[in-house]
Amino acid sequence: MRTVISLALLFSLLGMPLCRAVLPADAESDGALGATVAESHDTVAEEGGHHGLPPAAPDLFHIGPLPVSNSMVVTWAVAVGLIVMAQRSTRRMQAVPSGIQNFFEWMVESLYGFLDGVVGPELAKKTFWFFATVFIFILFSNWFGLIPGVGTIGWGHDTEHGFQVVSPLLRGANADLNMTFGMASIFFVLWLVWAIQANGVKGFVLHIFGPKGDTTGFMKIMMIFIFMVVGVLELVSILFRPVSLSFRLYGNIFAGENMLESMALLVPWLGWLIPIPFYFLEVLVGLVQALVFMLLTAVFTLLICTHEEGHEGAHH
């Protein structure tokens, strides 16, 4: 825990004085990095001196044919941080935990207990690794994005309102749709696998299109028709889940970063003070969004894996 606090303080101390120490894009235009950044700078400039974070995460450099964006750098930083902390916490585990082991144990045990209550013991045992990773990764990515310097140090140009950063060196991982859509897509694939494991292919189709309730005669035919139509709607809703999940998270984090920047620029000489309450709000938003993503995915999984009493016999 001490290490985490030290790292956060170090980042803060390094980031704060550098908040305005931005790099002019023209000065870097010789290298590949500068070229990529200048490209994005030009795009933004053409849009008419846009203030705030661009919707797309700009590329910083390439590793071979693969582009590396500023949000990918943050993703890797958070990933490395989490992996190192996890490894350190469980390297020499003690029966009586202390320090980082205690923190990780608390986090894992709390999450497990929470998910156990939401999806039930069997499903929790099977799916915990995914939901816990989603929560932990989203939470730490969101909070990492609040460290001073993320989104404010980068390449830019002089405008009437002062120096504007158009290509930040770092960008919140969840302020990139590729990240949020990536997680939502992984969930979609896993959801499909878990759903088929729990219901079988026939059961899965019946779960979506099958009529519910006990009816006979003409009513049964009507119910079959109605539930076929409902099933189509359900299918559309399922197919749009990755979109809604990813845009919800992306929108909240992207909007939060833009709001912080807007608040900082609202009254230039009070730029250090006005964003402070919104920082606390964003800390809360970071937690809430992580919780919302995890809970929604968990509930979607629970809904498809829960057998209805009427279909219990048919599935087994």
């Binding site: 919707p55 797309a56 995460a57 700009p58 044919p65 693969l66 582009p67 590396v68 964006s69 990918m72 993703t75 890797w76 990933a79 989490l82 992996i83 996890a86 490894q87 916490s89 469980t90 585990m93 029966a95 990780f104 144990e105 894992v108 045990e109 497990y112 915990f128 690794w129 995914f130 816990a132 990773t133 932990i136 990764f137 990139d176 749709l177 590729n178 990240m179 859509f181 990536g182 997680m183 897509s185 992984i186 992306y250």
Partner: protein
């Protein structure tokens, strides 16, 4: 109908393409983020969830065993306490019985000793009384004899006569008879 459907799909496809372009959604970035997330998930599972959940399970079992042992110890303690109480009760009863017996024996002995002491004392008193009577008789005889001698001597001195042994015997006997009367 088919043309309308195709139109809708085409529109949706255009919208999706436009949205992806606006938000920078593309395959290289998307795959990179997916791989990063999968690596994080795998390593967290390997280094965090698996060992921690295993440890928590072990701890849960240890606590359960501890509670079970505590319950067992509690029951054993209760059984020991009951046995101790039973032994104490038995010992108490036995001690009371022994005490009663001892008391009865002591009473009996005391009675016997008292009887013996009384008998002994009575015997001593009787002997003492007998000795006293003997002493009294002996002193009385000596006294009579002395008085008789004094009377004879007084008579000789007063009368100036020499008394014969028969006179002396008669006078002594007369004196003794007078005293005894």
């Amino acid at each position: 109908m088919l043309a309308a459907g195709g139109g809708i799909i085409s529109d949706l496809s255009d919208t999706a393409r436009e949205t992806a372009l606006t938000f920078g959604l593309n395959w290289p970035h998307f795959l990179s983020q997916v791989i990063s997330f999968c690596i994080v998930a795998f390593l967290l599972y390997l280094w965090a969830y698996k060992p921690i959940l295993k440890l928590l399970e072990q701890r849960r079992q240890q606590i359960a065993e501890g509670l079970e042992n505590a319950e067992k110890i509690k029951k054993e303690l209760q059984a020991t306490e009951a046995a101790r109480q039973e032994i104490l009760n038995k010992t108490g009863t036995e001690a009371a019985r022994l005490l009663d017996e001892a008391r009865a024996i002591a009473d009996k002995l005391r009675e016997q000793e008292s009887q013996k002491a009384i008998a002994s004392a009575e015997q001593i008193i009787a002997k003492a009384r007998e000795a006293a009577q003997q002493d009294h008789g002996r002193m009385l005889a000596e006294l009579k004899k002395e008085i008789g001698r004094l009377v004879v001597q007084t008579t000789v001195t007063v009368t100036g006569k020499v008394l014969t042994p028969e006179d002396q015997k008669r006078l002594a006997e007369e004196t003794t008879r007078q005293i005894s009367a």
